[in-house]
Point group: C2
Chain length 399, copies 2
């Protein structure tokens, strides 16, 4: 049987190959610390489970294709509180941020088209783009410049007749970069001037460590036609398994095209939307502040611990709960195998996401890793200590 | 901004255009009976809500990409009870049957490829296929032959170098056709001989009115490489809003390709999978028999009522809860507008799905309609009576 070209170009998760080695390490009795996964240990607010429990219907019926009304209204009101007035018609309920991307990308991308994405990028973007038949043209950044990408001279030469969109993650996964107000304005200006869709993945919106309020590309009402926002409750409310997100745009034609795909798959899950609405309704400013403070403690713990590891390079994250670290090793994948197969300290070792999977070009990011800091500060401190000890052992082993 | 060719070729739901007329009719005080929607009124078993309520985790975490273990095991055991042994590795949990199609189709379809689908077909198939860049080549059937399609002489001439797959719905939506054992064998033989993937959408499996047991294309182990089954709890357990389905295949390479897309979107909703597992675990043979009996009563009510309407043509459905009816009118869409705008009987009127939306070629099916019989027999009887009265009024109106 013949498989499609596009599916053959898609990759499996780069983390997958380490799984058997993790299992083997644990079978030897090792405790494996995880810096590799974006699953927070923060409790999902009870409001979600309470709403699911109190669901009063006897038939679990289809939701409307664009979303359950209470969910759409809750999202609308959440954005109003942020200072971005939108209407329910400008929101489509999706299965997490992932489906928002799976809906918006085929609306603008045909085979042979290109989309600009700052590199390093979230690896699943590659799958979502390839399945449309289009390709990512990476906006290259560098560790030395802290992975900043909002630079007209860097971006405009990459735009050609095949370019249809720009996709950014702000706050950034895997880099922790948060755009300044000027950088946000620049990105939207570039999209508008070149008639491109700026797709802004803002699922980490609230997790910012500076003084600025949480932001959105919806701010720029003069460029509303060129902006689509991807959102999700997954990280905001530590409810990744709920799979409730949103595609938001004031571009009516875009939303009309997107509706075709929403109708095609009938609806997103009814009960999860109702429960997500309760999260938006019941969690107040103190909740958001508490979550932000918790991640700040974790970020501070990771940064302090990394400062004790010789010869690593990194920029302090400004948001989200990830950072890229350049290691003093030849190959971060080889180090990962070493950490799982040969290394241990007091019966413990550590896993991370090797950097190469976050780059479009093979070979790039080979001595970089992505760290997700989603566990408690003590565990994070120990994890980074293990990383440092592992690097030393790796570099001093007999070759 | 430029939208993709593929999204522009997708259509909005053909039912959507009648919605404002329905609202207007109700605003006039009319009661509108619904033969147009596939949302059953049968209660979702409490087991679903109980399991959702009893979910014991404090963090609603990502499910594994291929599915929650208890759900995969429950599906495996359900198929074992049917006589089709499969392993959990041969099952991927999906957002309903819809996502199973959204996953399997791009695995085999590239731009310019073709997929054979018996016509009339479920309209959303068209969206799922177009978004891959491929096109449907309809297998034409006729009302006179009861929409039967499993016929080598009819199918083989449609296969060419672009053909990659055959997609069937068995039991059939919108036709109610159920393949005989010989017809099932023929379909799988054709797929095997031409090295095509036979995608069998079996979401209505249990709703069959003959003496035969519920069947699956998984029966043909000698053609296992060529078969993928689409399944869902939506109709089986009247839980359409749960959005829990499955893609099932013994073709390891296909499942490996499909896994790329499963990993890309991270997972299907955790809580709904856990609750769906409880449905599979707790609902016994009596439950399935009860549901089948209920739909049989509804089918009998519809058939009896249709037999009282002059000059309509239809074949008695063998399964699912739909049938196509040929009306003695020039245009079923015009009749629908008439029923909503001009007609009423004792303050009541009726809606159905005009047949044209179930055909690939414009103009086909213009005097046909699809009826979904998902309400109680009394309501169905009255709905069909209204249809008959409406046809008489429509045909005797002054032109």
């Amino acid at each position: 049987m013949k498989f499609s070209h596009k599916i053959q170009q898609c990759g499996l998760s780069p983390m997958r190959k380490f799984y058997p080695y993790e299992v083997a390490a644990e079978a030897k009795g090792l405790r494996v610390h995880h810096l590799n996964i974006g699953q927070p240990d923060i409790e999902t607010p009870r409001a979600f489970f309470d709403a699911a429990r109190d669901f009063g219907e006897t038939v679990l019926a289809y939701a409307p294709a664009p979303g359950v009304e209470v969910y759409l209204e809750a999202v609308r009101d959440y954005y109003a509180r942020l200072g971005y007035p939108i209407t329910c018609d400008e929101i489509l309920a999706t299965y997490g941020g992932s489906e928002a991307l799976q809906i918006v990308l085929p609306c603008v991308l045909d085979e042979g088209d290109e989309i600009l994405i700052p590199e390093p990028f979230y690896p699943n973007y590659d799958t979502f783009v390839r399945v449309t038949g289009a390709a990512i043209r990476p906006i290259p950044t560098s560790a030395e410049e802290g992975y900043r990408y909002a630079d007209r001279a860097r971006i405009e030469p990459l735009i050609n007749e095949h370019t249809r969109a720009i996709l950014i993650t702000n706050p950034g996964n895997p880099t922790g970069v948060v755009l300044t107000p000027e950088e946000r304005r620049l990105m939207v200006d570039i999209a508008k001037e070149h008639d491109l869709l700026l797709i802004s993945d803002e699922v980490y919106r609230e997790i910012v460590y500076g003084d600025e309020a949480p932001s959105s590309m919806l701010e720029f009402t003069d460029a509303a036609e060129n902006v689509a926002v991807v959102d999700s409750i997954s990280k905001r409310f530590s409810a990744t398994g709920a799979r409730v997100g949103a595609l938001i745009s004031r571009n009516k034609e875009l939303m009309g095209q997107a509706m075709k795909l929403c109708q095609g798959r009938l609806c997103a899950a009814t009960l999860d939307q109702v429960a997500a609405a309760a999260l938006y309704r019941k969690m107040d400013a103190a909740y958001y502040a508490g979550v932000r403070e918790e991640y700040r403690r974790r970020k501070d713990a990771v940064v302090a611990a990394l400062n004790r590891v010789p010869n690593v390079q990194f920029s302090e994250p400004e948001g989200a709960f990830y950072l890229m670290v350049t290691l003093p090793v030849d190959d971060a994948e080889k180090l990962q195998y070493f950490l799982l197969e040969e290394f241990q300290d007091q019966g413990e070792t550590v896993m991370y996401a090797p950097g190469e999977g976050f780059y479009g070009e093979p070979g790039k990011g080979r001595n970089e890793i992505r760290i997700a800091y989603v566990t408690n500060p003590d565990d994070l401190t120990r994890s980074i200590e293990l990383l440092g000890l592992g690097i030393r052992a790796y570099n001093s082993r007999k070759q």
